[in-house]
Structures are given as C-alpha cells and as structure tokens.
C-alpha cells in the first residue's frame, strides 16, 4: 500500500485532490470491469463534494450505483460481491456514518479472509471522509481512522496530496484486502504536488496525516525564520505503518511531534507516539508530543470549532517548546 513515485508517474501536470481521486477510479474502472461504485448520490450528483462527477456518464448506472440510505446494507452487499469476484468501492458520504457499517466493516470484511483460513478474499475499498472546520457540527466532522486502524484485516490510507491520493487509490483498488480510505473534505480543491522545502539539518520531526500534513508544512515554513528546521513525515497509511520512516526521522531529530485529526485520546497519535517512543527511546531529547482533535464532540459555532483542531500556530508553539525556545 505505497505509491512509489518512480514506478507509477511521469507527471508534471497540476490537478486537484478531487480530480486525482476521480482519475484513479476512472482509470481502474476502465482497466477492470469488476470495479464498481455504490453509495448515496454517487451517480448524477457525483457525491455532495462532486468528486465522482462524470463517472456515471462514462460507466453507466450499473457501475456507478445510487443506493438507498443504507450504509450497513451497501457495505454488506459489497462484501458479498467482493467475495464473489468483484472489486466494489463503497462510498460512505461522511466518516461519521461508518458507525452504521462497523459490523460489516470490522466483523465481516476484515475477518473473512482469516476466518476462512485464507480461502475467501474481500477486495473492496470503503471510501469516506474525515475532518472538521466546515461548521458541520458533531455528527459530520469526525475523524474516526483510529477505529478501523485498530482492527486486524483492514488496511487504512489517509492521502494528504493529489499525488498520493491517486497512487493510493489505484493501489487500494488492486489490493486483495478491504481498504478504508479517508479523504479530508477540505482537501478536494488542493492543487499540485507536495512542496519540497530546501535542505537543512532538521531539528524537529512532525509526523502528520491527511490534511494535517498541510498544517505541518505551513508550520514548518513559519518555523524556518525562527531557526527551527522541521522535517515533515507523512506515513500515508496507518495500516500498514512504515514505522521505520518514523523512527529514522525521530532518531535524526531527537524531537518529535505527532499530528492526526482524530480525537487525541485513544487515537492514532497514541499509536504513532508509542511506536516512536519505543523505536527511538535512546535518541529522544523530549517526550513525543501528540496533537489531535480536542476531546470534545465537534461544536457548531465557528469560534468554538476552530479551537478544536490543530493549527499551524499551535504546531509552531509546540515545536518551540520541544526545542526549548519559548
């Protein structure tokens, strides 16, 4: 579940994150007739975020299927179709709604291969969203990647750039396992490849996922004039996890901060921090700092909502503290 630049892309074009997702799906659907998409308002509407616009025109309503509002049912149907040889993509409109499909995701899709002693396979992708600050309040703003990352048998991808989105999507569809892909709702218009900061000896590692990578990169820019060089590491998939990359950077910089938009407690940052603390124990100058969403249901009021998620300013503060610069 990695997207290796060298092997997959010639690319200089700039496209948006949303276009990258659509392109990946379109290419895979052209290549493989067993790929289909099922979800609410995925066809003519192309999803509320318009990410899938145009697909039903090319592939028809038999392969881009508007479903009833039945998250559990469509996920179950996809599991069965996958077991019978297809490669379904299930669109769960908001990440908050995976709550309704957790039995089918965690008890069925994730376990079929193991429980059957390797005989049956469930090659399917669950596509959903994460992220707050759209003023959508507590039931439309969650980042529940920790739940699925916790369940053996699932792979979990959190692309943070158009480049990775396309690569991870194509890899996920071809994967023989159930893969859950979270897309930050605010990233769809994001353009271009990840900017590469100029070379410098880094003093702090910022591990970040999904749209938090953008926040980390902005923070890194702000830290540079303060004499702090930050290395931003994006694991891209939480399962499997490239622990080596995280630990290597931690050993190099000795100061690490981990960001993910899920609730901070019992979340993804806990695992990443634990992995780093274990792998780089003798190299660390300070405890690994975690930065997740505040442990509250996402509030509606803008003045409150913005307090709940990590911002570049918060990251800069934390990085300064980590480096003993107050």
């Amino acid at each position: 579940m990695t997207s290796d630049p060298a092997s997959t892309v010639v690319a200089t074009r700039e496209i948006t994150f949303g276009q990258a997702v659509r392109e990946a799906l379109a290419e895979e659907m052209r290549r493989d007739p067993t790929v289909f998409i099922i979800g609410e308002d995925v066809a003519e509407a192309g999803t509320p975020f318009k990410v899938l616009s145009g697909l039903v025109e090319e592939f028809g309503p038999a392969r881009v299927i508007d479903s009833p509002i039945s998250e559990a049912g469509i996920t179950g149907l996809a599991v069965g179709a996958a077991m019978a040889g297809m490669r379904p993509v299930v669109d769960i409109m908001f990440g908050d709604f995976i709550t309704l499909a957790m039995d089918q995701i965690a008890n069925q899709a994730a376990k079929v291969h193991y429980m059957s002693g390797g005989k049956l396979k469930v090659p399917m992708v669950v596509r959903t969203t994460l992220g707050a600050t759209r003023r959508s309040a507590a039931q439309h703003s969650q980042s529940l990647q920790a739940w699925v990352s916790h369940v053996p048998g699932l792979k979990v991808a959190l692309p943070s750039t158009p480049f990775d989105a396309k690569g991870l999507w194509k890899t996920a569809i071809r994967d023989d396992n159930p893969v859950v892909i979270f897309e930050d709702k605010l990233m769809y218009p994001l353009k271009g490849p990840v900017p590469e900061g100029e070379y410098a000896i880094p003093f702090v590692t910022i591990v970040a996922t999904s749209s938090m990578v953008q926040v980390a990169l902005r923070a890194a820019e702000m830290l540079s004039p303060l004499g702090i060089s930050a290395e931003v590491v994006d694991p891209r998939t939480t399962v499997p996890l490239d622990a080596r990359a995280l630990v290597d950077s931690a050993r190099k910089t000795s100061r690490v901060m981990v960001m993910d938009e899920g609730y901070e407690r019992y979340g993804v940052t806990a695992e990443l921090a634990a992995v780093i603390a274990e792998g780089a124990f003798h190299y660390l100058d300070a405890p690994v700092k975690r930065l997740g969403a505040m442990h509250v249901p996402v509030p509606f009021s803008p003045v409150l909502e913005d307090l709940t998620v990590p911002t570049p300013e918060r990251v800069v503060e934390v990085a300064k503290t980590l480096c003993g610069k107050r």
């Binding site: 609410e40 003519e44 039945s70 309704l100 003023r135 509606f300 307090l307």
Partner: protein, 319 residues
C-alpha cells in the same frame, strides 16, 4: 377547530416560511456558517402534526428541522442565534442547524443522522408509558429514512410494546439528489403495516388533512392503543440545502413550478379560509405582517448577540 386555531396554524406556517427565507438570505450573503436544509414547501406537515400535540409531548427531528422546532413552539430569536453559532442559541451555539433541541417544549433534537432519532422517539414514548403519563412522542423523518435498518428494529418494538409513538414520514420525493422511487421498493405503507402498525397516507400540503390524520394517531396513542405511521406526501420547494442551487440534473424547473403554483400549503389554507369565510384576505395579511416583524426582530437579536466565550469549548462534554 375554531377560527383562532386556523389562524394559529396559518401563523405558524408563515413563521416557518419567513424564517427559512431569512436563513437562505443569510447563507447567500455569507453571514451564516455551515449549511442549512430548508423546510419551505413542507410547512403543513410540521404544523399540522404539532398542532395536534400538547406542549409536554415529545418530538424528534431531522437535518431539515427548523420547521419542526418552530412548530413545536420555539422562538425565532434563539433559533437564529443557534444557526449563527451565538451564545443565546438554544444549544449555546454548539449544535447549529442540524442539532437544534428545545427541551422545554419537548423537542429532543434535530438529528444529522438519517433515521438516527427513531430509537430516541420510541424511547421517549417508552418512558412516557412507564411513567403512566399519556404523553406521546412524534418521530419526524424523511422518506430517505426508510432506507435505514434501525427504523424497522424500532417499528417492531413500538408495535410489540404498544408504545405511544407516531412515525411521521415526510415524503418530499427526494433523498438529497436522488428520486425516492429509485431507492425505495414496494409499497411504503405496507412497511409499517407489516409490523402491525396502523398507517395512513395524507396530503402533506393540506394542513387540515395532516392535522386530522395526526389527531387520530395521537388520540389512539394517548388511549394506550400504540403506535401509528403517517405518510405525508409533500415537496421541498428549494434545494436539498441552501447551497443546492442548480437542480436541473435531478428535477425539472417545471416540476418545481407546478408545486409552487398549485400546491403551496400557505396558499391552500388561505384560499380555504377565505372561501369558507373564516377569515378575510386582509386578516391573513395582517397575521403575516405580525409574524414577519417578529421574525425580523428575532434575526436582529441574533445578529447582535455575542459568540460563546472560547472557554465554552470543552464544557458540557460530560454532565
């Protein structure tokens, strides 16, 4: 029904209409954060049902919940405040459009999960029954909620335990951008009936018809005869939410125009009131003006109100 009651229904429908027009305007002019799902066109359902309820009866509501909230007696000022994320809002700005609740009037809250409150309504009915009160609970939901399994789990229990809960299905023909016929198999009324729940279809544009049907269902429930299901045929005049402006790909302008011209619940009631000489068109206009002024004042209040203090962000996570 006497003249006052009819005029109250008219005023309530008018209040919802004007409230929603302001919301649309707030959004269009960039003054409202987030989104809102407007109830314009469906006013007769909320008002017809809620006029058959007592203040201490419960309702649960949906993402398209402003109408239910106002119909159950909430006031426009604190609703606007909530929609703007302001401190005096019904939920101190923490809930917003999709989560307005008004405990004092038995509104247990809008819900941003489709059919997410079906169990909650049945649970409130269960509590009412256990407390030996004769309160009832109304569960409003869109026809899209027929896709959610929990509805059937709950209808089964409501029937088994004769709970005083009334399921009000607002069939406005669309699940977001998809015609309901593409997502809904078979005969809608047969679904509740399969569980032994009495079910009735009614014209959701005719507040008198809704009110009569709701009255029958509420009376049964109060008498301890158990749940009922009301299928209200209706239409949303505007988009799925305030930002849904170009709707050509899922429904025609012509269809919208027909509903607006021929099936406007406010027009239908007013025409009838005048024809029956219950009220004059001037009287109706006067009611409208009063409501309009009150709602406008409510909006001014909300625009001027303060945002919550940042320290509010982590209060009320736990009781």
């Amino acid at each position: 029904m006497n003249r006052d009651q009819y005029l109250t229904m008219y005023a309530q429908m008018y209040r919802i209409r004007v409230f929603e027009e302001h919301v649309n305007e707030l959004y269009t002019s960039g003054k409202m954060p987030g989104l809102a799902h407007l109830y314009i066109g469906e006013e007769a359902v909320a008002v017809g049902v809620c006029q058959a309820l007592r203040p201490d009866d419960y309702i649960t509501s949906t993402h398209r919940g402003h109408g239910h909230c106002l119909a159950k007696g909430a006031s426009a000022d604190r609703m606007f405040a909530e929609l703007l994320g302001k401190a005096p809002g019904y939920c101190s700005g923490k809930g917003g459009s999709m989560h307005i609740a008004d405990q004092e009037r038995g509104n247990l809250g809008a819900n941003a999960i489709v059919a997410g409150s079906t169990g909650i309504a049945a649970g409130a009915a269960f509590a009412a029954k256990r407390a030996r009160s004769d309160r009832v609970a109304v569960c409003f939901f869109g026809e899209g909620g027929l896709g959610q399994g929990i509805l059937y789990e709950v209808m089964n229990m409501a029937a088994l335990w004769t709970l005083p809960v009334i399921f009000v299905c607002e069939n406005n023909l669309y699940n977001e951008y998809t015609p309901y016929a593409e997502t809904t198999a078979g005969d809608l009324l047969a679904r509740p009936r399969a569980f032994g729940i009495v079910a009735e279809e009614t014209d959701g544009q005719d507040v008198r018809a809704v009110h009569a049907a709701a009255g029958r269902a509420v009376a049964r429930a109060r008498r301890g005869e158990g749940p009922a299901f009301l299928l209200c045929q209706t239409y949303r005049f505007l988009g799925h939410h305030v930002g849904d402006v170009n709707r050509g790909y899922y429904r025609t302008k012509d269809e919208e125009q027909r509903w607006r011209a021929e099936r406007d619940p406010l027009q239908i009631l007013m025409t009838w009131l005048i024809a029956e000489r219950i009220a004059t068109s001037e009287e109706c206009a006067r009611v409208g003006e009063q409501v309009r002024a009150e709602v406008a004042a409510g909006l001014q209040f909300a625009l001027a109100a303060a945002y919550p203090d940042p320290s509010e962000v982590d209060t009320h996570v736990y009781a």
